[in-house]
Structures are given as structure tokens and as C-alpha cells.
Subunit: 224 residues, 2 copies
Amino acid sequence: MKLLIVEDEKELSKSIVAYLKQENYLCEIAPDFKTALDKTESFDYDCVLLDITLPDGNGLNVLKGLKADNKTDGVIIISAKNSIDDRIAGLNLGADDYLAKPFHLSELSARIAAVIRRRRFDGNKVLVLNELTIDTLAKTVSVNGKGVDLTRKEYDLLLYLVSNKNRVVSKNAIAEHLSGDEADVFDNFDFIYAHMKNLKKKMVQAGCEDYIKSIYGMGYKFDI
Amino acid sequence: MKLLIVEDEKELSKSIVAYLKQENYLCEIAPDFKTALDKTESFDYDCVLLDITLPDGNGLNVLKGLKADNKTDGVIIISAKNSIDDRIAGLNLGADDYLAKPFHLSELSARIAAVIRRRRFDGNKVLVLNELTIDTLAKTVSVNGKGVDLTRKEYDLLLYLVSNKNRVVSKNAIAEHLSGDEADVFDNFDFIYAHMKNLKKKMVQAGCEDYIKSIYGMGYKFDI
DNA sequence: GCATTTATTCAGAATCCCTTCAGAATTGTA
DNA sequence: TACAATTCTGAAGGGATTCTGAATAAATGC
């Protein structure tokens, strides 16, 4: 899962990233709105944390732009002001949640998880796909009730495929969702091949039907 | 353990928080029902203290909403009225306990502990997990009937893992749970490694299966 | 206030797994 | 069929992560 943190206070964004990294999120930082729009333009983040009180403009306009583009990104507004009006304005413009500073990082993390669940999995915490069960809260995967041990990348990969089930996802999209650093990914999908192979092997060994289909020249599809 | 205190009287909520912090609870305050619903939406608290006589609505409706969402939170109603009817209404709507103002903080604390125990462990004060037995009242642990001496932190750690059994818990969550205040704990999980090592060693030495699994890059899981 | 236990920090060791690579297999095209 | 492009496979290096034992700091109990 990839997040964009739009925040100018370096200290804050740093500790946010440190915390969320532990929670297995890939994070990028935009210190101002311009950078933020730039980044969201070229990539669909799973969730954007938006501080609406940055020096270079009105955050609510940025939010409007984000939502107008029909982006799939979830947005959580972070604000120093906790006025009801601001809150309502933000949520009316399509924000998925609102969090007043200061906040506990654990609460931020919980809300991010909630937003992503809502947007990607209809709010379901546990995904059941025939014999395959993915518990996104427990971060466990099981086939016919028996646990399957996956590494983080394998788990992330599976979750990404499932969240796009019955759709072809390109290797570019996969690469961007799995790799921390932006860019440099193109031209080398070897790591995807490797993870894909290991994931498929583990799933099949666990007795799961091989739902992951490789579509030559296009990408992959979780076919169910 | 994380609590939500829904209360508009600042003085009262402050002293409640001060007291409960001493008891190692993490507390958040919601001064009105709207905030309360917001917070419970995205986070499962161990227990919610709900003053049902706030300006912005009917607390019993809030309670109803809380329980309708199938939240796992325990709820203790706090009320200035001590009529039998109110009490019955509250408990009928699924509240776990009812406390009339004014109350002693020590009594509040005791009831919170009771509610959490009841909800977490289905009312069991003694947890039995195969050869492992944990008495949450006496705070003692035994394996095959023979006592195991754990330090306070080790006990807390074990109980936390057990209360999240079969789930992966992040080091962030563990750190928060063990250290109480959310300080700059991240970036240094050495103390977790140390406690974990000592706990595991003691358990295994006592003849307990090593249920605590380390999940590389994700956290730990009490796998049973 | 002192002795003892407990909690945390530290550095080096051990482990895991992510990525890369080279060669093989598969698919699509001519 | 032959060839090129793409994908798969197994193995290995190296970086990140976790473990360990010991030292230091803090807390507890007498």
C-alpha cells in the first residue's frame, strides 16, 4: 500500500513515515501542494494524507482538484483547526476522513486502514474468495482454513491483485505499488517475476486454485 | 489498553484521564457524541466511557449505534441520573456497566478492568491455552500447572499477544502498549527484542510450546 | 538509603528475504 | 519452422531485520 503525505513540517512528516513504514506502508512525502498535485497526477496512491494548511495555497482547492480528477485515492485531511465548519467543508468536498492535530499515530494508522478498506474492499476486513481467505486485520492468509505463510511483498502483491480482481493489472502498476522508491522501476520487472513465482507456488502448495493468470504482454489478472 | 472517554465536562474528563493513565491505560477524549462516533468508527477501543447526558443528542441513541455496528468495544455508561429506569434502558441497549455520578475513580477503574476482562476473554478470568494458563486476576502464568515467574513487562507482553492471538501485531502496537505514552518509540525496538527474547526463553524453559512467532518485517503473532 | 530486581541500550552475530542475474521455457510473429 | 520478445525458474549476493549476551540505567523492595 502506497501513501502520499502532504505536510510541510519536516519533523511531523518524518515521524509519520517512520511509524507507517513499520506498518508496512510505502510512503512518499510532498512538502507543498505543487509537489502533491504533481505526484498524484502520475500515480494513484492508496491514500493521501493532506494537511490543508500549507503556505502555498488553499488545501481545500487541492482536495477539490484531486477529487475532480476522479482519482481513486482516498484522502484523509489533517488540520490544526478542529472547527466543525472546516470538518464539514472537507468531508463535503469528498475527503474520506478528517483528523485534527495533534493526533496519535496509532489513530492515524487505524484510520488509514479504514479508508483503504472502504475504498478497496467495500469496508470488509476479511476477504473470502472461495477457498482463499485474507484477513486484512490479522494480516493472515489461509486456504481452506489452513494458514499460509507469506512474506510482506508476497502479501502486498496478493492483496493488490485481489483488490483488482478480474481486471488485468500491468507490471508497471504492480511495480509502483510494490517498490518504495519512485521510478527506476521500468525496464526491470525481474523482481515481479520472482515474487509472482514464489507467491503462486505457495498458494498452489497450500491447495489453492491458481487464480493468478499471466496475460502475455499485458500483465496479470486475479481471475475468480 | 485504549479507552475513549465521552464527556463534556473538561475538569472531570481531565481527572479521569490523569487517573487512568496511572493505571497504564491510553486515553482519548471525545467532548461530544459526534466526535465519539467518528472515533469509534475508525478504531476499536477496549472500552468506551459514555456520558449519556451531553448537549448534542441522546446518549442512548449513540450507544445503540455503537452496538449496532457490532463493535467489539465495551461500554460503561456514566450518568448523573441514577434512576433504575435509565440503568435498565442502558443495559438493555447493550451497555456493559452503569456508573452513577459522582463516583470514585478507583471504582471506575475496577469496572473498566472487569468489562475489559469480560469482553476480551468471554468473561473468563483465567485463560487456558493448551498447556498454558493465565490468571488475569492474580496476574500469574503457569505451564502444565507449574508457575512461571514473569516480570511485569513480560506479563503485559504475553497478555497482549494472547489477546490478539492468531493476529500479527506490529512492533509499533507492541511498543505503544508496553510503554504507555506514545513517545518517540519508533526507530528503536531494541527493548521489544529484549523482552521478547526473555519471555520466549522463560516459556520454553517452563515446557511451553513456542507459540510466539516472529513475522519478518511485520511483527509478532501468537499462533495457536 | 542500599541491595536487588527489572528495564533498556548497545554492538556484534545470525537470519531472512528482496532483488538481481543467467539461462530455460513459453508465447507471438513472420 | 525459425526467430524475437516475453516470462519463468533457480540460485546467489547483499542489505535489512531480528536475535543474542552483556553492559548500563532505572525501578523496586527492604
